[in-house]
Symmetry: C2
């Protein structure tokens, strides 16, 4: 077995064991070299595997009785790491038994447990949650942090840029993804001290496998003009949810408009292939799989309400990150800016005064 | 003349004098008690008025040669306040000659000049830029601050909530608009210290003409479940632009999808009334007119690329704010939380330590 196994927290998520196992089975069709550790209630996992013989052959089951609740406080979840499906999936990554863990459970608990068990990589102060979003261009855009860190300084943002670029290289195949910092204007005087500081550091850095283009405003995230959008977790979460909410708003309006008259209804039916394409493009399941970057191991968060196709995409993300060894890539890139990273520390502290 | 005049910076904006005058003329049909001071190049304003005799009768022209440039630094614009159309429009509000000024020019310059000339109201530390956005409900939602203040403390946020509620009462006619703070989760432990602090203060306050409901996430802004969304200028600008960009993204996808096959094209034509309704709902011209709240006078920013209908909406906003005397309303509400506001100061300072 040349590739590491993937641990699946079979119990997390709103949709239950069947969807997690079904999703993993779908992903395995695309990545047939991978095998799986399915963590959770053995009887239910076995029942779910009955529908997926190819998956059964590639899976081991690790039974446990307990599940982290959706509203459980991370501090409590951490204390139950040795008895919950989420905790045991992460522990399998820590021990080296698996290379990645995928969970559709409580995001805060997953982050807290992942950080505690796997620790951040050398050179990374804080892990970040990175996600993929659709664009008008050929590739999805990577955005990070999506909510793991409410406050970020310039040093954090520089590290996020390095991690996001490494992720984008795997997703897009580009040697030097276009990276920008999210800001409220593109002029160099805009935004906070930390943003301006991070921008200057990324401009000054040499040897980074990215093309750093300065700032980007939130209305340009989906235009396909950029591969990585870097931001603190507060703004990133606001931007992500504003984009999701606005897309839903427009499609809801559209649905109302299309069902308001017989003429519209006929038009809608005739043009169904077009609206199906739109639906496909906007379906969050097609962009499912938030990645905690910067840990010693890969942790992927699947959306709680994802369907089997959504789970398959999250497992697919973890498989691609393992195949391309994201952790080594980030470590190598951080080596390039080692000196810069050191210098950041003293400057950030000065800025904070 | 019982109602104050409205000063129009006829020179600002990408579309020029004709659009500003045309827009004001359209607005005047809805508010025929108002008269106008048109500030800018006299010859061009006169030429534009030839198409609008009703407007000509209600207008006075204040000639000036200079214009604030779109990319002019606010610090430079301030020094030219006495010779530019924007500066003179604001000066007319300061002198009491007009009650409001409308400009489609440089936002930063408008804010800086407005602040310097009109000063903030007693009890308000900083003015905020408030805008209206479409929702799935019956009313537009008021969001503030949209970018005037990058950093805001709890005290600023409480003041924004009071100002936003006063604005919403005028727009919606509701006695107690539903107000929430924008955050990355709705639990009381979420977000920054300042957000939690502001939330507690608004919960504790009594006698405010609003229904304060805690936090709201960015995907819920347009659902019609809230009348006022309060945020710092950084997050507000990110959210606003993310919503605009996402709406454009979806409609661009839709256009592509609808023109990708003959069948779709036919469907599109048949259902045109539906898509026209969508277009109308999303057209930024129908929600044009950002208001700087908290100054001793009304300053309304029209979008630089607004058409005549958009300018008319911005002028309409200024007329409604004058008719309902927004400044007095805010002052009265601030009186209600006078004690609270004082207490904020010491607590905010402690938090900052």
């Amino acid at each position: 077995m040349s590739l590491p196994r993937i641990a699946i927290d079979a119990m997390g998520g709103d949709e239950g064991v069947r969807v997690m196992v079904h999703g993993a089975a779908l992903a395995r069709r695309r990545h047939d070299k991978f095998s799986f550790l399915l963590v959770g209630d053995e009887a239910r996992i076995k029942a779910a595997l009955d529908d997926h013989p190819n998956m059964r052959a590639a899976s081991e089951i690790l039974h446990c009785d307990e599940v982290v609740a959706g509203d459980e406080k991370p501090s409590r979840a951490i204390r139950r790491a040795k008895t919950t499906s989420m905790g045991l999936a992460i522990a399998a990554v820590k021990s080296g038994d698996c290379g990645a863990a995928v969970s559709a459970g409580n995001t805060g608990a997953l982050m807290a447990m992942g950080k505690l068990a796997l620790r951040t990589m050398p050179g990374i102060d804080r892990p970040a949650l990175a996600g993929l979003m659709p664009t008008l261009g050929d590739n999805d855009v990577v955005m990070l942090d999506l909510g793991a860190n409410t406050d970020c300084d310039a040093r954090n943002l520089v590290q996020f840029a390095v991690m996001g670029a490494a992720y984008s290289r795997i997703v897009t195949g580009k040697a030097a993804p276009r990276v920008r910092l999210l800001n409220i204007g593109t002029e160099s005087i805009k935004g906070t001290d930390d943003l301006r500081d991070a921008s200057q550091r990324l401009r000054d850095a040499t040897g980074l496998a990215m093309q750093f283009d300065g700032f980007i405003e939130a209305d340009k995230i989906n235009r396909g003009e950029v591969d990585v959008v870097v931001t603190d977790g507060f703004s990133g979460n606001i931007a992500l949810k504003a984009i999701e909410g606005s897309a839903r708003f427009v499609t809801d309006l559209l649905r109302t408009a299309f069902t308001s008259s017989l003429r519209s209804k006929i038009g809608f039916l005739v043009s169904r292939p077009a609206t199906e394409l739109l639906k496909h493009h906007l379906d969050p399941n097609n962009h499912n799989g938030g990645v905690f970057l910067g840990l010693n191991g890969v942790i992927v968060k699947s959306h709680g309400s994802a369907n089997a196709q959504g789970v398959a995409n999250a497992v697919d993300v973890s498989a691609r990150l393992l195949e391309d060894d994201i952790t080594d890539r980030i470590a190598a890139d951080l080596g390039e800016i080692g000196e810069l990273s050191m210098r950041d520390k003293s400057v950030s502290q000065e800025t904070a005064k």
